[in-house]
């Protein structure tokens, strides 16, 4: 164990990456049934969102309670394309025919028939929205709790809009019954497996990207902005831009996750992206450890798994447990489970080595609004 902690960080990263790939690509498909594997695919989508939240919130101090909006934008963009592809060229998606309010496809649906446009939109659309809101909000130094509330209000507004425009968005039902995925039949277990592999690969890729980002000069700057925005400003940087990058990257990840969620689960609906799911994304990150790289991923998967395992049999108990998790972890273990590892290690070493300033310690001194 000691050898592990003293290992060259680059070697350790490669080892961890290899181990993750081994688990995701070899162990999980071999050990899990098709049903379990498709559940894991869903959890990994949440994990991708969590990586982004870990960057924005854990490293940047931006508590974004509206990641569901970006998840939803990505999901709807993908689902719109798949619905159009299912319907075939020139036809309207089934639900539009069903409601019968429209004579022809709405103009803003039409470009999504193009797969390249739809795929680009799943990432760029959320990033664009995040850029717009982030520019306006950060530039005017609206921050902390104010930002959190605004991001939550965005989620509320988005859901109300989607439900209100039932004729073109499917309303409360959302976009359902998605059968095909770029020509592959999603009912076929082999293709479901392929979707799982795509999701796992995207997750690993984004983890590598995020690790590079966290270790770069930008990553240091982001933590500095979180811990003392004024000082960073006095040093000549513009904290608004630093925060904007983290927010936009997190939004792009959430969009991609939403896009992958659609073929994995076959539905996207307002209930999956509203206020409550948005805040559920955050709880996984908090449990796992917001400032760590892997903490959010493991936390998100664990919480989503616990939800599936418990909520079906004991829905009431699960709600209590979820509430208790929020209270206990955030109030008494702000570094999440990832910080337990550090605590154990520090206790074992005597005398304690001067620990490098990590996010966990700085988190405790998180400064107000």
């Amino acid at each position: 164990m000691k050898a592990l902690t003293e290992m060259n960080p680059r070697l350790r990263a490669w080892l961890g990456f290899g181990l993750g790939a081994l688990v995701l690509f070899a162990a999980a498909p071999a050990l899990l049934s098709d049903f379990r594997l498709s559940l894991l695919a869903k959890y990994l989508c949440f994990a991708i969102v969590a990586v982004g939240i870990g960057l924005a919130w854990g490293r940047g101090g931006l508590l974004t309670l509206g990641q569901g909006v970006f998840f939803g934008l990505g999901g709807y963009a993908m689902a719109m394309h798949l619905k159009l592809a299912d319907a075939g060229p020139g036809n309207m998606p089934d639900f539009m025919e069903l409601y019968g309010q429209l004579d022809e496809l709405p103009a803003w649906w039409a470009p999504f028939a193009n797969p390249a446009f739809a795929l680009a939109a799943t990432v760029l659309l959320p990033m664009l929205v995040a850029f717009g809101l982030g520019t306006l909000v950060f530039r005017r130094r609206v921050r902390g709790a104010y930002f959190a509330i605004l991001s939550q209000a965005l989620a509320a507004a988005m859901v109300i809009l989607l439900i209100g425009q039932q004729g073109t968005t499917g309303g409360t039902n959302g976009l359902t019954d998605i059968d095909g995925f770029f020509g592959y039949d999603l009912d076929d277990p082999v293709n479901q497996r392929m979707v799982y592999f795509i999701i796992a690969a995207v997750l690993l890729g984004l983890l590598a990207l995020t690790r590079q980002l966290m270790r770069s000069r930008y990553g240091e700057l982001l933590v500095a902005v979180r811990d003392s925005e004024e000082r960073v400003r006095f040093l000549g940087y513009n904290p608004a831009n630093v925060k904007l990058v983290a927010y936009v990257v997190a939004a792009g990840m959430a969009g991609l996750a939403g896009a992958l969620f659609v073929p994995a689960v076959g539905i996207i609906s307002p209930a999956l992206i509203g206020i409550v799911p948005s805040i559920e994304f955050v709880i996984g990150v908090a449990v796992g450890g917001r400032a760590a790289l892997l903490g959010p991923v493991l936390g998100a998967v664990a919480v989503a798994w616990a939800k599936t395992a418990l909520s079906e049999r004991f829905p009431g108990t699960w709600t209590y447990l979820q509430g208790a998790m929020f209270v206990l972890v955030v109030a008494f273990l702000p570094g999440g489970l990832a910080s337990l590892w550090g605590m154990v290690r520090r206790r074992r070493e005597t005398p304690p080595a001067p620990a490098p300033v990590t996010g966990d310690q700085a988190l405790i001194k998180e400064v107000a609004v």
Partner: protein, 295 residues
Amino acid sequence: MTVILGQLFTGVSIGAVLLLIALGLALTFGQMNVINMAHGEFIMAGAYTTYVLQQTITDAGVSLLVAIPIAFAVAGAMGVLLEWALIRRLYTRPLDTLLVTWGVSLMLQQLARDIFGAPNVQTKAPDILTESTSLGGDVSIANSRLFILGLVVLAVVALTAALKLTPLGRRIRAVVQNRDLAAVSGIPTGSVDRLTFFIGSGLAGVAGVALTLLGPIGPTMGTNIIIDAFLVVVVGGIGQLKGSVIVAFTLGMLQAMVEYLTTLSVAKVIVFVAIVAFLQWRPQGLFTLRTRSLA
């Protein structure tokens, strides 16, 4: 003309409900800078208090009037308990307070489900409040809305008087303006915090009583309205009540007007955009306390 007048009254009554909910937040969030997501569940507690009272006192009018002070006490007590158990440990970490109180609100919702059942329940409004008052011509306004408007005016006046005239109010303002200086001047900031929280949460209970007149009572009734109320306080500016008062009615009017011209769902989005645009102009809200801290 009558249409405009009618929408104006709709706007005022939306604003009144918004303000009643936001008033408690103006104290806990505005004065103490605590983001209490369980505020919505205190509203729910107030509403269920009304429901329970109506089971014992069958006269709807009497039970409604009795419910107001009792709901205030019930919700206030819950608020004090929350402040004592959790929030006071988190004063330096406002974002974490938000998440912790969200967890509390989840548990309270489930508790309500376990006690009262998941389906919504309904209270009976006194006869006089189910009628409408004509305002001349075709315009009429529901008495329940008038009652809520009256309640809001009463609450704002009482709260303003309490903050401006009483010794407690003076202490609250002192702690808000400069906590350290208040502490060294001999003000027990801890108990002032608790009292402020009691009043703020109690006001949520009163809002809950009022909401029973407008719709059904359910475990999740607090979740959705709370965000609008938070926005009112954000836009109004923290530290002062008048900002919240002005913003609540302005947002209510805006909502009513845009809703009339478009649809409810579009109105929500436009109001959100308007709020972000407004914060460009005044990022700290309509009114702010002048302080020497870095903004």
